[in-house]
């Protein structure tokens, strides 16, 4: 099988010049411009990643090394994971992580389920009243969260959800912006495919499940990523709703360690910060391509 495929290729005359696999440096422009470009790139790299990298390095320092002050060095002399063990012992980080995970799972689940169903229906022209739904969704996006949070808190209080993780999740269980994003993705599915699916006898649910959802998986990923990050990183709303230590999310717990007057070792707090960045960073590395798409599609389509 393989030889049969390879043969014609081998017989091809070497008429074309062999192409270089890698371009040479001079293909990228004048040397001086290149040097300036790379110098600038590394300069910005230092500014953007530097503080976070410093945090990571400091978290690896042993207790004998200064984090601050004139004697502090950049690199840890004896890298140790002691601070990571300590952060779990001194601070209920495991509880914080559990709480953050609960909020993230609830948010991602509900956002995905409800933004796809609502987005699907809104992409269909054949029902009355969808314009009214549209108006309500757009209207709900007009009010900045900060200008309605007092009233939101009173609602959560009346529901008895103060100091409850459900109260953190509930007000944003499905976002209008995600519904609009899913609708745009479903609208992009060619009508002809749906028509042929219908000729084959696929019902509405089957078309939604087996045709529309797979076609829109880029948008689904964008919704997942955005929801994950905003739920994981959120601060102001959990700060308002949550009170007790057992209910705190990771960002909330970390913010309470902020001042060293609490008596916490800075290396330990930095270890906590690093732990909180890791899940988002992993998600980013896995889904990088769609990540960028999410940013631009948010701009272009909506």
């Amino acid at each position: 099988m393989t030889t049969a495929v390879r043969k014609p290729a081998a017989q091809q005359p070497a008429a074309r010049k062999p192409r270089r696999l890698l371009p040479r440096w001079r293909d990228y422009g004048r040397p001086r411009e290149l040097v300036v470009r790379y110098l600038l790139l590394f300069f910005v790299l230092g500014i953007t990643v530097g503080p976070l990298l410093w945090q990571l390095l400091a978290s690896l320092k042993s207790t004998g090394e200064d984090v601050f002050g004139a004697n502090a060095s950049l690199l840890p002399h004896e890298p140790t994971l002691r601070a990571y063990r300590a952060v779990f012992e001194q601070v209920p980080v495991a509880t914080y992580i559990r709480n953050s995970t609960i909020v993230v799972l609830l948010s991602v689940g509900s956002q995905l389920l409800f933004s796809t169903t609502a987005g699907y229906m809104l992409s269909k022209p054949n029902w009355k009243g969808r314009k009214a739904v549209w108006v309500v969704l757009i209207a709900s996006m007009m009010f900045p969260f900060e200008s309605i949070m007092v009233s939101l808190f009173l609602s959560i209080r009346d529901l008895g959800l103060v100091d409850n993780l459900v109260g953190v999740w509930l007000p944003g269980f499905v976002g209008a912006i995600n519904v609009l994003l899913m609708r745009a993705a479903f609208l992009a599915v060619p009508r002809e495919i749906e028509d042929s699916a219908m000729l084959d006898g696929a019902g509405e649910w089957q078309r939604f499940r087996y045709l529309y959802l797979p076609s829109a998986w880029g948008a689904i990923l964008v919704v997942t990523i955005n929801t994950f990050i905003s739920a994981w990183d959120d601060f102001l709303w959990p700060l308002i709703v949550l009170r007790s230590e057992e209910q705190m999310t990771l960002t909330l717990g970390l913010s309470r360690l902020q001042s060293s007057s609490f008596g916490y070792d800075q290396r330990v707090v930095m270890a906590g910060s690093v732990i909180s960045v890791i899940p988002v960073l992993v998600l980013f590395v896995i889904t990088q391509r769609w990540f960028y798409k999410g940013v631009s599609s948010g701009a272009v389509k909506l």
């Binding site: 400091a58 200008s147 209008a176 990183d233 631009s296 701009a299």
Partner: protein, 337 residues
Amino acid sequence: MVTDTAKPVSVPGTEQPVPGTAPSRIGRFGRALLPGPAPGANGAALYRRWWLPWLWTAPAIVCAAVFGVFPFLNTLLLSFTDAKPLGGAASFVGWSNYTRMLEDSDFWLATRNSLLYALIVVPLMVLLPLLLAILVEKNLPGIGFFRSAFYTPVLASSVVVGLSWQWLLADEGLINTSLEKAHLIKDAIPFLSDSWLILFSAMGLTLWKGLGWYMIFYLAALGNVPKELHEAAAMDGAGAVRRFWHITVPGVRQAMMLVGTLTGIGSLRVFTEIYMLGSATGGPGGADRTLPFYIRDVGLDPLTGNAGYGSAVSVALFLLTLGLTLLAQRLTKEDES
């Protein structure tokens, strides 16, 4: 057998069940939840069960109405009462929350801080990410790494980057010790104790965290600027700066307008940066509080809070946001014509 899978194209008589087309795996109850089209008047078939689309969209409608539109109307209402954040009887107090607000110097201070924030952050946030996008636009070896690396501050939560900056800017922090070592300063710069410096540090933090996000935004826009224009201009001897102002900027003008609008609205929402750098009080004596910070302080404090007054400040914040949005829309329109 009832089927919900008639073709949406209007053909008289397709209301009749089409045999063999109903999904069988989901059972009768499941099928009842499915939208099934019936012939409509104008080409598109309407769902025979008129409530099915509503069922599919109900969660989104409920969320938008109950946690979006209602809280706003309720905020308007609350602003005329003296409701307490922890409950209890509330009574109408007329316009007194608003008159109190107009005489409240802390409110004006918060408004000034928020507006100053927008005034300084917006132009920088419109320009700096654009320059960064131009820097990473060209496909050089390793450029993917740089793009991703520049994006990392976006991923970290404001709390984490706030902690990081706190340590950088502390009296004993990296920046102060480096400057002292270089003999540029004698005493540490009080980044975290002087109210003006806290405000500017927070702006720096906002900018730093937003750079990567808007860089990606601009990268998409830069893709639409024709390369030929740049080449032609370069042939005619136009330098990089002139090409930037006369080709790149007009090419991405729309994106710049959008970034300006978004960052303007974002500046009015700043909270965490101030909380992290200026501590939970919002700077010395609350001098660095922004409007959201002030709303939380006066409206939601469990002991001394007054949700009525907090709502009045919330209305002010909403009006500011609305004004900014309308201004941006007007500018965009003028720009287009």
